[in-house]
Chain length 163, copies 2
């Protein structure tokens, strides 16, 4: 694949409360296309309703962003099984939505994402955000869920030799 050709990647960082997303173009340089965060609805909605909203929103973003490949941040460990269950529920809705939108889905562990973006596998989220903003030429500070999503998109572009 020539370096002149841009490849669009959707990055997703699923979370039980907030799911970050970020779309980038990777070619000679990296360019941000769209990014933001999806908040899981409040408790006035039942769990199934909230997961359905997450599914619909991710599917809408995936279908509309022009990318064929999605990079998702994987799970390295969890504090306890209850947190893991909740994170799993969000991941189930997100991953099904990506596949249903026809995307090819890749997973990268947090350590690989940190290493790819900052050169240091144990970087904290603020350091990841700083490098993401630098690599994408973004000045306005974004939320940490959003920068994590952009980081996994960048990781896929770099690891996949797309950049």
């Amino acid at each position: 694949m020539g370096h002149d050709k841009n490849v669009r990647v959707l990055g997703i960082d699923p979370g039980s409360n907030v799911t970050g997303y970020g779309v980038i173009d990777a070619g000679r340089t990296f360019r941000p296309v769209d990014y933001g965060a999806i908040r899981l609805g409040g408790k006035q909605h039942g769990l199934a309703q909230r997961l359905s909203m997450l599914y619909q929103e991710v599917r809408r973003i995936a279908a509309g962003c022009g990318a064929q490949q999605a990079a998702v941040e994987g799970v390295f460990m969890s504090k306890n099984w209850r947190s893991a269950l909740k994170l799993g529920e969000a991941r189930g809705a997100v991953l099904a939505a990506l596949a249903d939108a026809g995307m090819e889905v890749f997973e990268y562990s947090p350590a690989v994402v940190k290493m790819s973006v900052t050169g240091y596998g144990r970087a904290d989220k603020e350091q990841v955000r700083e490098m993401v903003m630098m690599l994408l030429g973004v000045d306005k500070v974004m939320g940490l869920d959003t920068s994590d999503a952009l980081a996994v998109a960048l990781t896929h572009a770099m690891q996949g030799g797309l950049g």
Copy 2:
């Protein structure tokens, strides 16, 4: 709600490998309408693809079964966070599919299901199956994922005063 009126309930027991489902009519008596198990595709498919297949299958069953209410077996505890994460992923796809099919979703803990169906909160799965088959007048032995799904449907019918 009069006892002459039948109410149809879809029961679901989500699992990281097998998800049981069962549709019953509850009126003066309980009647099985349809039941079975959805196996998550093999490892030749990626995780997102397998969750998408689970989502599609549950949505198809929910939309076609004629029930407006779904009863889902909840999670009481988990061996470890990895099992909880995997179960969560299946639950995420299943719950989103139920809500997307327009169903109202209710959750019942395993202990409540066991108590409702067998009168004993610590009954084992075989005892639950035996009672489910008796209550529904089914002779042919079914898988334990399927009987668990029918059990949660029966629980909803009994707890909700539908029976």
